[in-house]
């Protein structure tokens, strides 16, 4: 089990939510059942098809159930208000929140006002984070490029002491930028309903 989990982690694989039954394999005499079959996807896949779900089919002749992957974009009605942990680590989040919340949303009963306020907050935070995210991506590429240039100097034997220190700093930056990205993806994949509480 640990080996399997380590494999999933190392490959940056994501388990997608299941629809239908929980187990995919049944011992013919009915004494045991397991979830032996699954579909794991990469982060690029998940970003491309965020509604990916594995549908567990009925057991027919085999002792295994077939799996069907489908990207279902289902309208569940109004989406609940959720936040990402990474937002709170960004400078400026509080200010954006304050600004969005203090906007005048008109008149109505208090419940309606809260709903409109949350909606406004959502829109504002979303566009703010899109900017932060793009900037992060840009920065990440710059860091990668700079590290590569320094590595090249190192290969050629012309790496100065200050350049060596700079590279250590850049590697640290790269790690924290990647961690942020991973944290966001991890949270996203859980939001999609992964891991049913039993």
């Amino acid at each position: 089990m640990e080996g399997f989990n380590a494999f999933i982690d190392r490959c940056h694989l994501y388990d997608i939510p299941t629809v239908g039954r929980v187990y995919t394999w049944y011992r013919p005499n009915g004494t045991s059942r397991s979830r032996l079959d699954r579909i794991l996807v990469s982060d690029t896949w998940l970003l491309r098809w965020p509604g990916s779900r594995q549908y567990v089919q009925s057991r027919i002749v085999s002792d295994h159930c077939a799996l069907v992957i489908r990207n279902s974009v289902v309208d569940w009605g109004p989406k609940p208000f959720r936040t990402f942990d990474v937002w709170q680590q960004e400078v400026g989040f509080k200010e954006v929140l304050k600004h969005a919340w203090s906007q005048d949303v008109g008149n109505g009963n208090s419940l309606e006002l809260v709903k409109l306020k949350l909606k406004g907050v959502k829109q504002e935070v979303k566009s703010w984070y899109a900017e932060v995210f793009n900037y992060g991506n840009l920065k990440k590429q710059q860091v990668i490029d700079e590290i590569e240039a320094l590595d090249k100097c190192d290969d050629e034997g012309i790496l100065q002491e200050d350049m060596r220190i700079r590279r250590i700093q850049l590697l640290g930056d790269l790690r924290s930028l990647s961690e942020k990205e991973n944290a966001m993806l991890r949270q996203k994949s859980r939001f999609n309903g992964y891991r049913k509480e039993t």
Partner: protein, 91 residues
């Protein structure tokens, strides 16, 4: 095996316990596509063989970074005890 209207298989490589299919997911008529890698696995029962298979897949996956790919099939393993009923885990 593949529906060419939806998935154009460009290259397919067979391993001992897996098949890697590289192709294009076609949409919007036939002019748009997304490169996709699908790895089908059939995991052995023994733990040591499983580890070998996962190591193999890990290497393949490493060569397809930043691509939309999925690994699917019979892994003969669970990642949480709750995914198993009626059997005691050996590990």
């Amino acid at each position: 095996m593949w529906n060419n209207q939806e998935f154009k298989c460009i290259r397919s490589v067979e391993g001992k316990r897996f098949i890697v299919s590289e192709g294009e997911y076609v949409y919007g008529g036939s002019d748009q596509f997304i490169p996709v890698v699908i790895i089908n696995v059939y995991s052995p029962c023994s733990n040591s063989e499983k580890l070998t298979l996962w190591g193999d897949i890990e290497r393949i996956v490493g060569s397809f970074q930043n691509m939309a790919w999925c690994v699917l099939g019979d892994f003969n393993a669970v990642w949480d005890p709750s995914e198993r009923k009626g059997l005691v885990l050996k590990e």
